[in-house]
């Protein structure tokens, strides 16, 4: 369950997030684990409390997984909250991680979905496979 990442792995995660998620127009992207640890954050989180965001997102994902169980699903693969100016998108990465993407109203949800799905495939092996 525990995780140690080398500098090389962190660098690989950073370049995957920059290329696939930030280039798609996201303002900021965070990789967190499901117990609430912040693994990597990229983008421009001015005034954003990323540590609190990581903890709350992990809890939110956990609570939603309980809702999923109540309706006979295992889990939800993604969650999306729409705001007036800023949107937030959560994608499950393997069993143990969550990718959190913040993006503005001019960026298409479809593109974010596509690119976070792609980056997920890159991240899973770096994070140790079926975590």
């Amino acid at each position: 369950m525990d995780l140690v990442l080398s500098k090389e792995s962190i660098d690989n995660i950073i370049s995957a997030l920059d290329e696939d998620v930030l280039r798609a127009g996201a303002d900021c992207v965070l990789l967190v684990d499901r117990s609430g640890n912040l693994i990597v954050n990229r983008g421009d989180p001015a005034n954003l409390d990323v540590v609190a965001l990581a903890a709350l997102s992990a809890a939110n994902f956990g609570a939603t997984a309980e809702i999923a169980k109540l309706i006979g699903e295992d889990d939800f693969a993604l969650l999306f909250h729409k705001g007036k100016n800023e949107n937030i998108h959560f994608t499950k990465v393997g069993k143990g991680f969550i990718l959190i993407t913040l993006f503005g109203k001019d960026v298409s949800l479809g593109l974010i979905r596509l690119n976070t799905a792609r980056v997920t495939d890159t991240l899973i092996p770096i994070l140790g496979g079926e975590l």
């Binding site: 369950m1 995780l3 990442l5 962190i10 684990d33 499901r34 609430g36 640890n37 540590v51 903890a55």
Partner: protein, 203 residues
């Protein structure tokens, strides 16, 4: 679960304050938050609170400086102690690295303490964690009520009820006044960081 980032030489671990309802878990975090400087503490998050009962959790991140070249980041969480919120407790407990069990010294809470500790044992076991293995510290809270007209348990009785088999470090305290709060944090941080780094770096 803990996380070591070798690019920053940083370790992150999760410590959960557990214990019966109204025992003083949230008060421990509030005390730490107001007693620590900005360079150590992050923003405290308290969600879903109805009156002063915790419904989901409280969260306080701390940066505790360096141990053997590793910077130590600790995330403190509290669970809701009320019996009916067990699903929430399990959720917050996910990936825990160390536990502070806050027991209530009030005589009327004697059974509640024991039930809550048993509930902890069970919830950990469901996640394949052995309560005898994970870092655990007991805090006998509300000792400031000794000498008042409210009946309280003796420390010996609390030891007998909760720590006879576990044999873990314990502290008397008053979260309200701040007595024993830092001592509790220091001990649990020390054993948790030791436990986590041994487990992670020996692989």
């Amino acid at each position: 679960m803990s996380f070591i980032d070798l690019s920053k030489n940083e370790v992150q671990c999760k410590i959960v304050f557990y214990g019966p309802g109204r025992g003083g878990k949230t008060t421990n975090l509030l005390y730490l938050h107001q007693a620590m400087t900005d360079s150590v503490r992050g923003k405290m998050v308290t969600i879903d609170t109805k009156g002063d009962r915790t419904l989901f959790f409280d969260f306080l991140p701390l940066a505790l400086g360096q141990i053997q070249g590793l910077s130590i980041k600790i995330q403190l969480y509290t669970v809701p102690g009320q019996v009916m919120y067990n699903a929430t407790r399990k959720l917050v407990l996910k990936g825990v690295d160390g536990i502070v069990f806050v027991a209530d010294s009030l005589k009327v809470q004697k059974e509640k303490n024991v039930e809550s500790l048993e509930n902890l044992r069970q919830n950990l076991a469901e996640d394949n964690v052995d309560i005898n293995e994970i870092p655990l510290v007991l805090q006998y809270n509300k000792r400031d009520l000794g000498g008042s007209n409210i009946p309280i348990l003796s420390v010996e009785e609390m030891q007998e009820d909760m720590n006879k088999e576990l044999q873990v470090p314990w502290f008397s305290g008053s979260a309200l006044k701040g007595d024993g709060v830092f001592e509790t944090l220091r001990e649990i941080s020390k054993v948790t960081v030791k436990y986590v780094s041994r487990k992670l770096l020996s692989r």
